[in-house]
């Protein structure tokens, strides 16, 4: 969900650093045992893991690259050490499918596991249809289940949660479903319907120049102020990344203008740390008497586009 959150990056970096420490202690172990020829590889791979940790922290937008580095480190060590391990190889070969599942997305992990399974079984010298190879295959089949379940839960959340993931407003899908039903309601009850379109031109720029925290501050401020200026059954939804629709059921044009004015006054004195004074552009779309859903919606889209390109 939050692949780019700083918290997640820190956790991954920590995990990679512990991996680097493990590899370093393995190199030290070889030194103590006098296997001087086998020291170099874990030492180098430990460095690679450190690079992965640094990359994970420094380059926030590409979480895959450090994961690949960690996977390469794990696989290389495993492949080159397995022939030395003799009997214990039956334990350590089980690392291979787990590593890929932990570091790669579901489908690449599945493919890689299936493709490399014969190689790993050959490396640890397991005869086909022995208990060992069956246990290996079973672990290969069971490990991805955790990723399947994660994926199912995430998709389910997206399909059932009407709220936006970044701020206290409805998501685009949630907004459209809600607006659709609200339109029917006002039609059935012979009420008017007004929508205030609010565009924040600074959102994209804030994300590029100041990072996600500045963008979050903008969104939070808008949602808070709009909530303060509206009634309980008015609802705010995020139509595009930087444009919001505030739906006002049973509201006349003058009432909607009043709300718009109130929001403008509330936003005017706001000065944020990174982006400075909060700028906003607003428009009002009132449902005309007898207007049907399609036309109303088209007018609404047009207004949104006009505000965004202004």
């Amino acid at each position: 969900m939050d692949e780019n959150a700083p918290n997640t990056a820190g956790r991954f970096a920590l995990a990679y650093v512990t991996g680097a420490l493990l590899l370093a202690s393995y190199a030290a172990w070889h030194y103590l045992m006098g296997h001087y020829a086998r020291i170099l590889l874990p030492a180098l791979l430990g460095l690679l893991m450190l690079v992965a940790a640094v990359l994970r922290l420094a380059v926030v937008n590409h979480p895959r690259l450090p994961a690949y580095l960690a996977l390469i480190a794990g696989y290389l060590l495993l492949a080159l050490e397995l022939p030395w391990l003799e009997e214990s190889a039956t334990l350590w070969v089980g690392l291979a499918p787990v590593l890929s599942a932990l570091l790669l997305p579901l489908m690449p992990a599945l493919t890689l596991n299936v493709a490399l399974a014969p190689a790993w079984l050959l490396l640890c010298g397991a005869p086909p249809f022995s208990d060992l190879s069956l246990a290996y295959l079973a672990s290969m089949a069971l490990v991805p289940l955790a990723l399947w379940e994660q994926r199912r839960q995430r998709a389910l959340m997206l399909a059932t949660d009407p709220r936006d993931r970044d701020c206290q407003a409805l998501s685009s899908d949630g907004l459209h479903a809600h607006l659709d039903s609200e339109f029917q309601r006002t039609e059935l009850l012979h009420q008017s319907l007004a929508i205030v379109v609010i565009h924040l031109p600074q959102v994209e720029m804030a994300n590029e120049q100041f990072g996600s925290r500045a963008r979050q501050a903008l969104l939070d401020t808008l949602c808070r102020e709009v909530r303060r200026c509206s009634r309980r059954h008015d609802f705010l939804g995020r139509q595009t990344l930087s444009t919001f629709w505030l739906v006002l059921p049973d509201t006349s044009e003058s009432g909607a203008q009043l709300v718009q004015q109130r929001i403008l006054q509330a936003l005017e004195p706001v000065v944020l740390v990174d982006t400075g004074p909060l700028r906003s552009r607003m428009g009002l779309c009132q449902r005309l008497p007898g207007e049907d859903w399609q036309r109303f919606r088209r007018r609404l889209q047009d207004l949104t586009q006009r505000l965004e390109t202004q």
């Binding site: 969900m1 997640t8 956790r11 991954f12 920590l14 995990a15 512990t18 991996g19 493990l22 202690s25 393995y26 172990w29 960690a70 214990s88 039956t90 334990l91 070969v93 089980g94 690392l95 499918p97 787990v98 932990l102 208990d131 069956l134 246990a135 079973a138 672990s139 089949a141 069971l142 490990v143 991805p144 289940l145 955790a146 990723l147 399947w148 379940e149 994660q150 994926r151 199912r152 839960q153 998709a155 389910l156 959340m157 399909a159 059932t160 949660d161 009407p162 709220r163 899908d173 949630g174 659709d180 039903s181 029917q184 309601r185 059935l188 009850l189 012979h190 009420q191 059954h233 049973d250």
Partner: protein, 287 residues
Amino acid sequence: MQSKYKVGLMRLNLLAGALLLALIASRQPQLADALLLWLGVLWLTLTAALLEFSHRRPGMLPWQLLPGLLLTGVLWTAPERFALWLWLWPAVLLMPQPTWTLAVNLCLAGVSWWTLYPLLGPFQAVFAGLALGVLTAIAMARRHQTQQPVVRQRVRLVPGLPLWSAHQLTEDLPRERARCQREGVHGELLLLEVPRHQLWATARMLCHQLYDFESCYRLDSRTLAALLLSRDDDQASQRRAALMDTLPTPRKTRFMSLATTDDLETPLADFQRQPVTPAVGREFEHG
């Protein structure tokens, strides 16, 4: 809002796992191992059978604990044959689960490592433990970070249906009540009790009877609620009659005007004590 997500492939993966475990179980000489493995087969098959794309069955706790317990059991009874399954632990920890099952699973992982200790010898065991620690750290970093119980209170229970949790009703009720008063609209709360096995079918039917702007709520395993809005009393009584005609018969219903409904607890307790009304009977309280 319908998602294109299909559970079919995941079900296939579950069944493939079950098949492999069954194959292994049939080759076990010892009864205990075989039994544990067959239990694992059963767990995977049942999970595959019950799997669906909705919040109808939010993960039952004993159900989620079972894989960890089975894995510990297998590693305990036959460490020499299944040592490589020690590495399944990071996957168990990666599964979406509440914090306390996560803690239990972490302890079980420690126990499993300890049972392997004599087999591996001190040095190898230490390295295996450290490697397990590193993998666990990666699994924790990758764990899906959502507070499931909180989130579940505010989502549709089935994708695409306006069916919400009881918690959502406690939030919607005062808002709708105030709104009905302001707009001069006739609002009603319908309480409906049906036999347990009919609940989801009835909920689906009820949702299709509602306007898009009305919502249905699942209060408990037998009780549903719905907020109905009409222009006036006449329209409301027509809707009541239409609903009573279509809903399945062994049932208990009560309609209450929103204007007189302050909270949910008292009418709900009354409703649960109310005897089953005959199919044609209907009850409407006028305050």
